[in-house]
Symmetry: C2
Subunit: 148 residues, 2 copies
DNA sequence: AGTATTCACTTGCTGTTTGCAAGTAACTCT
DNA sequence: AGAGTTACTTGCAAACAGCAAGTGAATACT
């Protein structure tokens, strides 16, 4: 029933990019590598908005920009995403480093708490970076303070 | 990346029916209410097979029948399903009783263990019945013994 | 033994959805 | 003022989904 929502490959990818990488704008989604075309992206964002999963808010500095933000309902998908990520890592030979995934598996609570914290505080640092440099820990508020 | 797998509404539904309701045959999926047409169902089962998520095995009593079974990879989607179910219950006004869902949320480990047990032992009793009679507990091996 | 029915598909046709290329209107930056 | 950016829309071809009907093998009924 709720599956209807995710009955296409793009919606979940958009949500993942918002949740895990902190993407917010049309352009970011478009350039996120998987190659969604603009008409579909536009449509999906509208669908997700209608479903109450994302909300657009105009950027205060640049009036052309629209920042899409997850709603509570949207961020509550974090556990689903996390499990999917773990499953994917187990079976699909992911680009994300195994060590990181293993660690996430052992501290689901923490990962989700951190994801929600970022969302609440509009902290856009990606939880999982885009497959280049690899942090040894799941970053948390305290480990970030430590690293400064 | 692994999301590619679920880029349509039917695959997840099929997996759910196998995992949660113990469905196994073409006919059961077809009649499972959501109205998938036979050509699409056929195609999806083949796709899932190719992805290593389900495996067909001919029925030993009736040679017309093919029993589709989740693989290990398939059953490992249980945590994803569970979280999705919980999310759905929270936001989508589900037909499944709230009490049951609330209970599942508090004992995820147990629900998943039970799901896996059923799979291993080819126990086809549905974990969540089809929206008619409503058990008060998540059934487990011991509670089932109790109820006999 | 012969007909009917069940089961797991396949085929053909039609309509919707997707993907790509190009375009546009609003805005910003220089 | 002119070039560039951003979030879209439009038009068209190709892929996909959905329906009705059909196939072929296995079983059930008489």
């Amino acid at each position: 029933m709720s599956l209807e929502q995710f009955g296409d490959r793009w919606s979940l990818l958009i949500i993942r990019d918002m949740m895990v990488r902190g993407y917010q704008t049309f352009k970011q989604f478009q350039e996120s590598g998987e190659g969604i075309s603009s008409n579909i992206l536009s449509d999906r964002l509208r669908t997700l908005e209608a479903a109450g999963i994302v909300m657009p808010e105009p950027d205060e500095n640049d009036a052309r920009r629209v920042n899409y933000r997850l709603t509570q309902k949207g961020i509550d998908l974090a556990p689903v995403m996390l499990e999917l990520l773990i499953w994917g890592a187990k079976y699909e030979a992911t680009a994300a480093p195994c060590a990181l995934i293993a660690q996430m598996e052992n501290s689901r609570e923490q990962v989700i708490a951190e994801t929600q914290r970022r969302w609440r505080q509009r902290d856009l640092t990606p939880l999982i970076p885009r497959f280049d440099e690899v942090p040894q820990d799941i970053p948390t508020r305290s480990s970030e303070r430590r690293n400064k």
